[in-house]
């Protein structure tokens, strides 16, 4: 066909356009980015299994001093970081599948503190960004319509994606269509309120809403679709573009969700009994009955760890369920601890799961100090036990177990030798608080302890 500029045909026009599209759709397999920094604490519990165990970084092990303290809002910690919740509180604030509680979940299922690069991002009554180098408050902003869940690595973005929960419209006060959304991560320490949104989870299938919580692993966010009745959908969302990578269903409500190696661990524990379903996109691997007071805390190396408190029928315990076999075994029998400590155990609190050891805070009857236990993960043998006054909050590394607790005459932080339980150092924290000391987190060379209305950084002198 003759035409100005050359000879071309109808077929060549269409063929050219098609080729251009095909060229653009070529396979691109980029490495996940950004590369993890030793300061990062990307989500609650550090990893998708919520082990509260971080091998990276160089936090203080010989001695510690206060590097800085920053005034922040830790108000939401008091709800989500509570060790014990009543059935009402658990159902109201913890049931990820309860569609009727959308607003409440939205309000309280927040991740209060994440660390990305050189900044700590806190959400509470107000959102605060703290410069890790000197504790300077970079920005304080009331951010009621958006809440961070964590930071995910991505394959197509150089800066990763900030995973947050938000209603469709910022002005929507009903919060009945809250979904996980992908945002451009904060830069230069700016808060997430004004960062552009990249995607909505599940678009274009339009879930309506997702739970305002999720676990992030290797560029994938696993979350739950609330509904009026079972089966409930567990979905894995690609952190690059928000599309569904896989989905499956469970036949029970979900109070706790953990993820490891692409497997989702979804559990419920209420008065009618407990169940954990271990699944991925292709199948349900295990469905195991657990106790009505067993709360899923952490997952590591294919084993899910549950803690419970004393009941009329049994002493408190730690139970482990294998994803491979579905076998359930009691790792810790509270009654067996009685001989090694002063006082009778009444409940298991924080759990830290390391590669070889599991550390647990165990409450005791009134009049006796709570205890920190180190257990051999393979057989549950108690390696050491050490009692401290006050409520104990735990986080672990290869070189130390960090303990925060309000001891008379005020809050203290400790570092213990993970092998022996011997104290490495003790630091007195400023400003006495009556309650609300929360789990420490590790940010490169610092241990950050949130409590009261403060964030305190400890580092090697």
């Amino acid at each position: 066909m003759d035409a100005p500029g050359g000879t071309w045909s109808r077929r060549s026009v269409l063929g050219g356009v098609t080729s251009a599209l095909a060229l653009g759709s070529g396979c691109l397999d980029l490495e996940l980015s950004p590369a993890r920094q030793s300061s990062d604490w990307p989500q609650r519990g550090y990893d998708a299994g919520a082990t509260f165990y971080k091998p990276d970084g160089s936090p203080p092990t010989q001695d510690a001093e206060i590097a800085w303290k920053a005034p922040v809002s830790n108000s939401l910690y008091t709800v989500i970081d509570k060790k014990w919740q009543t059935d009402y509180e658990r159902r109201r604030y913890g049931d990820l599948t309860n569609a009727a509680n959308g607003g409440s979940i939205w309000e309280y299922a927040r991740t209060p503190l994440i660390v990305v690069g050189d900044h700590a991002y806190l959400s509470g009554g107000w959102g605060t960004v703290v410069d890790l180098s000197d504790g300077t408050i970079v920005e304080t902003d009331v951010c009621p319509h958006r809440t961070p869940v964590g930071v995910a690595q991505t394959g197509t973005y150089t800066d990763g994606t900030l995973i947050g929960a938000a209603p469709r419209y910022p002005s929507d006060n009903r919060n009945d269509d809250v979904s996980l959304r992908g945002f451009q991560p904060p830069t230069d320490g700016r808060a997430w309120c004004d960062r552009p949104q990249r995607w909505t989870a599940g678009a274009p299938r339009d879930f309506g809403h997702t739970a305002a919580a999720g676990r992030i692993e290797d560029g994938t966010v696993v979350t739950v679709i609330p509904d009026s009745e079972p089966p409930y959908r567990v979905v894995a969302i690609d952190a690059d573009d928000g599309r569904i990578e896989w989905e499956n269903t469970v036949s029970h409500g979900i109070y706790r969700l953990r993820v490891e190696d692409g497997l989702a661990y979804a559990s419920i524990a209420d008065e009618e009994g407990g169940t954990i379903t271990i699944l991925d996109g292709s199948s349900v691997h295990q469905r195991v009955e657990i106790g009505p007071t067993d709360h899923l805390e952490a997952v590591r190396d294919g084993v899910a760890y549950f803690r419970d408190r004393e009941t009329e029928a049994a002493a408190p315990s730690i139970t482990a369920v294998s994803a491979e076999s579905g076998d359930s075994r009691q790792l810790l029998d509270g009654s067996a601890v009685s001989g090694r400590i002063a006082g009778r155990p009444t409940g298991v609190g924080d759990i830290v799961v390391g590669p070889d050891r599991l550390f647990a805070a165990v409450d005791t009857e009134t009049g006796h100090d709570p205890v920190v236990l180190a257990l051999d993960r393979s057989d549950g043998a108690i390696e050491w036990a050490r009692q401290f006054p006050g409520t104990l909050r735990l986080t672990g590394t290869d070189d130390a177990l960090y303990v925060a607790g309000p001891r008379e005459p005020g809050p203290h932080a400790y570092a213990l030798d993970p092998a022996s339980g011997d104290p490495l150092w003790v630091a007195t924290l400023p400003d006495r608080v009556d309650s609300g000391i929360h789990r420490p987190i590790i940010a490169d060379s610092k241990v950050l302890v949130p409590y009261g209305e403060l964030l305190v950084a400890l580092e090697e002198p």
């Binding site: 035409a3 109808r10 356009v17 552009p196 573009d241």
Partner: protein, 356 residues
């Protein structure tokens, strides 16, 4: 009196053939666009959901035919992309715009009874693609912030915004008829001249008087509205809505510019001038503005076809391919028909001018 060559009436077979050409072309365009969506998903580039918003409140006016896109690439998704996905994302968007524009251009060319060449000159297609890029980009940039402003408007305010003109029009018609009725009664009683001999200017006076009465009534009604309520009105939101309306009106006046670029070989600037003037002079502004608005709504509505199928990929294919075949064809056909009417009007005007 100008002598026109009698227009040869087209047979149903010819009309059906024309529709078939448009549908076939836009089916191909829809398929290419669906391929682009799949490519975006393969590249893990996020696309924003467009089906969860109200098609009327989020209407995006277009000045060239577009494909039905249940999902859309938002500029915010481009920041932070690696270079290769960034180039691919922009390339796919550019490719889709080129495909749909070329499709429309070819449809107009192949259905033009005055052309015999199988393909239009390359320059005309180039002008058309350039025109499409500029107008699509302008609307792409303008519409989201205007719509964002528009979300500030509450439903009550939107009702007021739409309701007041409707009520005012009805009132105006009512008052005009009332005045005319009184005039009729007075004529029958022999107290005035015959109504039917009333000159056009007197009718216009009646209409103006009626309009003044309506404005006064509305002013009184709004004045009696409590001041705090008025203070709550989101003027920013209303400005956003009015901004969208302005874009729709401009798009209406430029409605036939793309067709004249292809069929008459006008350059983009000349085509814009010609379309604006011709539509204004031929009194078709209302018609083209309404077409632009409803095509914008129809495009958004067609995106909901994605919910018909339970499989998301099938749903996307259905909305994009079938939706584009329907809405794209309709849009391009309407542009061609309005162009034909405008062209005829222009021709007759020029003939009258020549006679004078």
């Amino acid at each position: 009196m100008a002598s026109h060559t009698p227009r040869k009436r087209r047979t149903w077979r010819q009309r059906t053939g024309t529709v078939a050409v448009y549908t076939a072309i836009f089916t191909v365009v829809g398929t290419l666009s669906f391929g682009a969506i799949l490519a975006y998903r393969r590249l893990s580039i996020p696309l924003a959901d467009r089906i969860s918003t109200n098609p009327i409140l989020s209407v995006r006016p277009t000045m060239v035919p577009v494909w039905v896109d249940p999902v859309i690439l938002e500029p915010a998704a481009l920041f932070g992309l690696y270079p290769i996905p960034l180039v691919a994302a922009i390339g796919l968007w550019v490719g889709s715009v080129i495909a749909v524009t070329l499709g429309a251009g070819l449809a107009w060319w192949w259905t033009d009874p005055n052309t015999s060449a199988r393909l239009p000159p390359l320059s005309r297609l180039g002008y058309l693609v350039g025109y499409a890029f500029v107008t699509v980009a302008i609307v792409h940039v303008l519409a989201p912030p205007l719509r964002e402003l528009g979300t500030e408007v509450s439903e009550a305010e939107l009702t007021l915004l739409i309701g007041v003109p409707i009520i005012a029009t009805l009132l105006w018609i009512g008052v005009t008829l009332g005045i005319l009725a009184i005039s009729l009664v007075s004529v029958r009683r022999g107290t005035d001249a015959s109504l039917w001999s009333m000159s056009l200017s007197r009718f216009e006076y009646v209409a103006i008087y009626a309009g003044a009465i309506v404005v006064a009534l509305l002013a009184m009604a709004l004045g009696s509205w409590s001041t705090p309520r008025l203070a709550q009105v989101s003027w920013v939101g209303i400005a956003g809505v009015l901004g969208i309306v302005a874009v729709v009106v401009v798009a209406g006046r430029l409605f036939v510019a793309p067709v004249t670029i292809i069929r008459d070989g006008r350059g983009p600037i000349e085509a814009i001038r010609w379309s604006n003037t011709s539509i204004a002079n031929s009194g078709m502004t209302t018609r083209t503005v309404l077409i632009v608005f409803w095509v914008g709504v129809f495009v958004r509505w067609a995106a909901h076809l994605t919910t018909v199928a339970s499989n998301p990929v099938v749903g996307l294919a259905l909305a994009t391919v079938v939706g584009t075949a329907l809405v794209g064809s309709l849009h391009a056909l309407l542009m061609a028909y309005v162009y034909r009417d405008v062209q005829r009007d222009v021709t007759s005007r020029s003939s009258i001018t020549e006679l004078e």
